[in-house]
Symmetry: D3
């Protein structure tokens, strides 16, 4: 169960309105790697958690913090839209082309749909959807998803930081950038803990090795002509799970035969061979 307090986790106040930047900022609120994604991902991982209590608790701690980030970004976007006039007429475009560019660059739904408020969508207006998130029940897999989300997310916030010269916006983003650093460190720590405890790095660690095709479990296949790919750590030396050596194949071939599918039954009305037509 949740409680809300009115204070923001951190201030979210731009120095001046900027509807074009508001549109761009939507990416880290409602985009693939925005705050809604991490909030929902961590909360569902927490709600569904069947493992140790400390993992459930930690997931709900961080998930609850992400809700505060959603609130901060929604507030920041609403303020970037403060006082945006709807009625910049075409005539104005010719007398002030810079204004025209600004108005033309904003997301029209910020005016028409949300009445100068934030939306749960990304920087091209595409709505947030739950196929962005994963809660698989396997925490090593999921913590990797979380580390990835914080990595992509911080990268995007950093890019948005570079795209602004508004000290208020930059101040808020500098907080989020730091928190994303904290969360990368934390998921990284949790991953290391689990890898050590499960004594493996390959998810899931519980599948018996003799049931998989071990002969191909450490091969690298050079399928794009040119062998620059042989120069990496992935192509030679001991495998990362410490159980074998990486093997590089310059000219890999197929292991299987050509497939031939039988005809479909007549009631499916697929294409039949020349004879079979009545």
């Amino acid at each position: 169960m949740f409680y809300h307090i009115k204070e923001l986790q951190y201030e979210a106040k731009p120095s001046r309105p900027d509807p074009v930047y508001a549109k761009k900022l939507q990416e880290v609120l409602g985009g693939q790697y925005g705050e809604i994604s991490v909030m929902m991902q961590y909360l569902f991982q927490g709600f569904n958690c069947r493992a140790d209590k400390k993992y459930r608790d930690m997931l709900l701690d961080i998930g609850t913090e992400e809700m505060a980030h959603v609130e901060m970004l929604a507030t920041l976007i609403a303020r970037l839209l403060d006082n945006t006039p709807l009625d910049v007429q075409e005539a104005a475009y010719h007398s002030d082309p810079a204004l025209a560019a600004v108005m033309g660059g904003m997301n029209p739904q910020h005016a028409i749909v949300s009445g100068l408020g934030a939306m749960a969508a990304d920087s091209v207006g595409y709505p947030w959807n739950s196929r962005y998130i994963i809660a698989s029940g396997n925490l090593l897999a999921d913590f990797r998803a979380n580390l990835n989300a914080e990595s992509q997310g911080r990268l995007q916030v950093v890019r948005l930081f570079e795209m602004s010269d508004d000290p208020g916006v930059r101040d808020t983003l500098s907080f989020l950038i730091a928190r994303d650093k904290a969360h990368q460190n934390q998921w990284y720590a949790a991953i290391c803990e689990l890898e050590e405890r499960e004594n493996d790095i390959v998810v899931p660690t519980t599948f018996p090795a003799h049931l998989e095709k071990q002969e191909v479990a450490y091969d690298f296949y050079n399928l794009s002509r040119g062998e620059a790919s042989s120069q990496g750590r992935w192509a030679q030396g001991p495998s990362m799970d410490g159980r074998a050596q990486f093997q590089y194949y310059s000219k890999p071939g197929p292991f299987g035969p050509k497939p031939v599918l039988p005809l479909a039954p007549p009631d499916v009305h697929n294409t039949m061979p020349p004879m079979s037509k009545m």
Copy 2:
């Protein structure tokens, strides 16, 4: 530019048709973490690659292999649908309820839309879409996305392995499970290489630390009552980037004030205060 040979990378032949299992298997072909996702993710990362040649080459190598996996799974699904009759009438349901259950459990689009062929969709029939993938230009971020994709993907194939007792199906899946192990090892290796080279683990490693709010960059906030979350590696000791100590806050509060938004201009026709109505 690409070339195709008719042989499959590995055999994909079930021992008997099974339309219900065909539906389930769609998950790892066209789902969030299916083979289409990894194929498209690695190819776009490769096409867009502005970094060292060896990374571009390696991305295109593995991306090209994933195309072979798409082909194998499509073939396996088509064969699981071999000879599925359309015309199992309602009468049959009562004389053979097991048949009824089987027919009721298949994806109706396998009969109506694809004519007993595989589809680029998941196990509930939801179409594959490109918001599943990421190619950010930052390879450390993207390799984490790739490691996550292979982790979730292998987990799903393992679960599907557990759900089948067909030796042909299991043989094919055992190959994919092994290749996903290989790819987890490879992305892991590439990540380690980049972390070492960039001398940091926090993406992006190029953002100047003094521009972020360093005071909060290593804090853990206990926002879900109960302190089980203090028991993990993420709550104490040196941070994973080796630059500070983790700090655990039992009762974190807000840093910001309560936000108050100004009224919208009248032409937006938002709710106005009691007085302002004409």
Copy 3:
């Protein structure tokens, strides 16, 4: 069964082309609360109607009118796109930045995909989809959906009216604004009629009160610190269904215990506790 006549329900002729405004106007054609939504919502409510004949008839009357609105807006948009040149080259951007802003602000699909025609999409180009509509079979619920749709829809058309100074566009919109007023009045009337007839305001009115947790059916829980929310009609006085008194709780707590989920079976390969790993 339907018939079409060539005349528009009302004139839809802008005074001059304006491809940027065409993009914005798409919102009320193919957006969440655009004319396609109300057309499809009312028609499906009508086709599925199992209640009194007069409701079915009325739904099909208004649904059929909305088809005329779809036609009007499609025509208006096509005309706003009249004579849009594709070949405004980059050079022109520098000699006429206002033109550049105009061309940059249009929806590129109006040129590339629809060949200067209207699309069944919204102002950011997101396609219309049927999850925008509801036909539940419970008419009191559905008429509330309809009243909401006409309220949101009229609000959006009004905002678009404010965004234009083209007398032709404004004339067409003034018609739609009036019809949305008519429809708000009509759904409001239908709602009142049903509330009176069913002698309740809570949907569904047919669920026996003793089966629900009546103790909490009129409570307001103050979960966001600060008690400004106690100042509204919803926090005190008789409930709107006239069956109880509103009750305001300043410091509500949980009624349930902490949930603990059991481990998943091993074949699911979720994270297991430290001991259980083999």
Copy 4:
């Protein structure tokens, strides 16, 4: 900013696992009118609120409660999935067809993707997306959206109540049904308050009447042959806004002319008349 406590707002414990019912229950968690929708809708209306403080507070109160409902339903679904075995083989279908039906009726993603956990999707596996919600800045419009959401939502929970005979499930649902009654009453109260204060029922109340086509603002057009629709309150008597009389037109005709669109410029490569081809 938000805080979480471990206790559930209300108990969510089924008497026995039931994976088929788990699939159905997803509708009111992650469907069009599920708890995620109301949670996100109220929170965004609150975050964006530019009107009186009491509305913002009340929106955040109820939005925060809905988060608790998301948690309860996620927990309930996870428990309905407790101990679901993955490995019910085809052989079992023939020996126990009822089991076959049960297993065939579950959502395969509950096994393959979420590892026996709840998902942010509906009963057919379609992911939640933010086009389900609205926060328009006009509270009268939005409160109607909210009343509608609680009406559709309660209707769906009631239907799910009828579909279960599990006392634990029914107990949880009886709580949600009561809370949806409370919320219907509360939004209804807020609507009445706003209608009174704005002295109108037509959203937006701020658009000047002389700018709309008043001649058609109270007409009902009988466009579906048969006049049963004349029997309702919407067809006669004073309009609900008290400003005019409803008018019923048996044989309405068009007000506009036939539209004719000009040819597109040649560089668009649309179909041209016979002559114009080179």
Copy 5:
């Protein structure tokens, strides 16, 4: 502008309810090639039509007929859902497994969301969306889209015909199958007329040949090892536009060089080469 009459274009009355078949039938109502698709596609092509009056008229004729088909299928589906009980409890599954299979095979949204009514979605519950349709302004292109839609659509209805033994259902489908034959013939005729008039078969016929890379305009590239593809009409003889000879290349190579992309600017924070890190 449109008018509706209460009569169906053709009877739509199943001999008995069948909720599982109702689910399947949704495909041809709200699927990729269902009746909503052709209705919307033809209407938008008509509304946007800038070419000869006869094409506009014909598009609106057929589009208006498709609306009647939407109505027929919605009615048929609603009737297939007549009297479906919600409360088939788990106990019943064991005493009547056939009933269990039937109930497990229905679309849960038909019970929970639409209250035993048709939905604008397909057979796996995926909502109809407007990316299914095209109205490009080039009628030769669009009539090919229409011929394809009627071909795929008739194929799907035929498959559904094979899947039913209900004489009422089959009667309705036999009407739709015949109308799809009529429409295939009609679009075929319109295509022939336009190809003759434009004196070409390649869309768009108006692009000057000297601006395209004519050297490759009639080549077939054998990129999938094995030359079975040389046996078709497409590999030899005069091209279908009569302007050249088909040319078959057994071992086609690239025409372009290897691409190398430059580094991104530092403010993008992409991966940089080892040196460049500060």
Copy 6:
């Protein structure tokens, strides 16, 4: 199984960066009729092919070529984004409005998400999804889908050609335009071959004529007032399948009765008639 070579099928090098054009070009990479669509459509038709070997081979040949087109367009887009600066600040907008227009017109995700790389999305940023493609198992139907895709696709590339004056861009597009001509000719040839072999033009050719409602199989219904539609080939003369005469009906009426649906069972909680309420 697939192999990749580093060379592009054809050069893809713009004369200068142009981020606005990069946004537009996305349409033919990741849009409804872009290269990803044809690649996936042909590959899935090939993988699923149960008919003659030569069709399977040809589908995989052309599908494999389309992969090269995906690569070319991704490369072209990445290069159009070369050196795009993120940090064009608001101040610059006023000193250089043309620059402002350019920056305002680009897709923000090209900066924030993909780090100056191509995305698998269209010109409004909507992600590619697999409901764009069809592989039905009936090749005559599918080859019509393919001919349509190449027709719409070539039309869009031609429009983009008209929108650019960059010789490098035009060179690449002139290659794609020629290949789309080749593919239109090839699918046309394959269609003719199949129509001849199956001795019919109506898909599916295998459905027995006596099972369909033959009385309406060649009728044209004039449902949009005005008889311009009688002037086309579709309205008179022998039908295109040579089996009957087209028949034009000026005033078509319904063949079916008015539908009346029974009430829903009480446990569905639909609207009930006045009496039935308890």
